[in-house]
Amino acid sequence: MKKLLKHISPLAPDDSGACSVLYEMGGITVICDAGGCAGNVCGFDEPRWFEKRSALFSAGLRDMDAILGRDDMLVKKLSLITEQIDAPFTAIVGTPVPAVIATDLKALERMSEKKTGLPCIALKTDGTRLYDYGEELAYYRLFDRFAEYKLPVKKGRLGVLGATPLNIGETDSKRLKAALSDKWEDVVCFGMDSGLDDVKRVSQCERLLVIAPSGLKAARLINERFNTPYDVGFPMTDELPGIYDKKILIIHQQFYANALREHYESCGCDVTVGSFFMMIPEYMKANDIHITEEDELIELALNGGFDVILADERFRLMLKGFGGSFIDLRHFAVGGRLNLG
């Protein structure tokens, strides 16, 4: 049966992705839920929750709020919180509750702006899609809304898009920056150790590096608006296991998996990339596959003739019949464990 998970638990959802991008932006983020979705974000998908403070709250909706569509109550609560916490903007993140009752998030955005006097972005996530969709939406809306002015380009400044714990398994940008420091003087990882001011000043970047598919749409927007060129890639931050002349299947977010492919192809390997998350067609090779169901991965693993599978440990559960080597390749959006190695 489609959409029945028998081996793994659900992957990081879109609302978690949206919150991940917004987490360090300095705004007030409200998850439009009853509490459970915010609990999943703060208690699981956001490893920075107990390290770095962020004004991330649950709307605390109750059944009558939903049934009666009390948007005005939500706006009132949002307004109250802007009196308690200084913030340059507010954001509303959708969940299944507003999706079921068809909340007009655009109207909510306008109502909030009118009431609080602060810019508001409402993100139409609904908890049914995956994290990269929510990240893409959040990056795009942030840059679209706040990156307004063209500033002089600073030579040696690189802007990185896609740096979230869900994509890279890190809670800060130290390792990423270290890996890029030989070529770039000044690296800014949007949303990780950087806030809204850097988003506003994105046009100062000499180039952009997109390290996960979720950042691509925003990069294209920035390119269109400011002519900032962008590259797609992933700087290696970990030592990789030595594999030579094998047929390999790599399951991860596409751009990291592609970087691994490049490395292993140089070791004589034949590499296929697969992902449950976004697969951008122009960065796919002929045999690459976008996986949508558990059974598809099982079929691919068992009948694909692979010697080695590099994937998050969580997938091992469903690949018990695989006769080759399984190497754990952490992906926070899958198994909820930090670090990529």
């Binding site: 959409k3 029945l4 959802p13 509490g35 979705c37 609990g39 059944d63 609904d126």
Partner: protein, 432 residues
Amino acid sequence: MTEAFFVTAAELAYRGFDDLPRELDSSKHMIYSSPATLDFNSPGAKGFGVKRAGLVIPGSVMLLIAPGCCGRNTALLSDLGYDERFFYLMLDDTDIVTGRYVNKIPKACEELLAELDYTPSVIMLCCTCVDALLGTDMERVCRACYDKTGVKAAPAYMYALTREKRLPPMGLVRKSIYSLLEPQKRISNECSILGFFSALEDNNEIYALLQSAGIRKIHEIGRCETFEEYKEISRANFSIVLNSEARAAAQDMQERLGIPFIELTRMYRLDKIHNQYRLLGEAIGAAFDDSVYFESAKAVIESFKEKHGEVVFAVGESLNADSFELALALCEYGFKVREIYGTVGERNFVFVKKLAEISPETRVYSNLSPTMMNYQPDPCIQAAIGADACYYHKGIVGVEFNSEAQPFGYRGIELLFSQLDKALGERGEAYV
């Protein structure tokens, strides 16, 4: 930036329950995901949320019918060995609007059964806010699943939207997990303890006291290892309810199975514990002699006080106690409680009023208030009790006191003070 909001016990008592400050009324503000909030909203490796609670029936499996976001944190339960008991029917955006997935649930049950090499005792169907809003008749869905598979199904309502209703999700799930019990001949010297998903701590005096009254078998769901043992619960002559969230389950058992119940409250004041046992004895026609336990607990408190002096505490709510009752107990024993992080309700407001008389300056904070993200620890506080209090006071001695083995009665007092004694001893911080 507003400082963390608090109100003193005196002011709170003066205002009364009907005039709570806005920051203490969670319906009037956004919710901050403090550790205590997460305990309720996202219970993971520690504690029981609806998902884990639904699986306390031995041999059960769970089908979570929800958008991906609702089941995401279930991965936390992997370490506890739940991996092979969870299945997920993922809903997409069309599903949650049309409700078309409801017809697929029996088929999903059939497929998950094919995956198992045993027949589960029950399939718990865990549903979420989506079904709360769509008004899905889960009883009917459960019957359809049974018709399709021949395996019983029961609902586990993870309705966060209804957490402040008369029967909140944690009450509903308790009712569900006892709903599979069937009437059978009750045995006069057996009883059951309801309230927690795990068992009482092994050395609890209630076992000995009940045995002294002639009770030979005490059923607890947390001690059931097989479905057969679970089914024996309905042999109980009476139930003892130790947590009010199990009241609906007990009432249901009274109506369906004819098992009456007696409700006790977990408290930390010696005289109240003694009084409860006296009333329990009267209700079952026995005179309990609890003097040994009373004296032992009293001695533990006195010894602790002698050793550590008038310790100043912060008391949270992520712990096996009512924050306000525990704070009141500590103050009555001669300690100081500088701060409480808790949820004021109608039931525990009585403790607030008493606390206001003996410790009017105690500050009451709400873990749910957004202002708590600006909380700054008070340096006067010497020890923290509760996982949330420990989080706010990382630099000082603390005990989380939220183990799965449930403390109760005199034994609860002994456990608390022995843990505090150990923690203070390890830091070498005696405050005399």
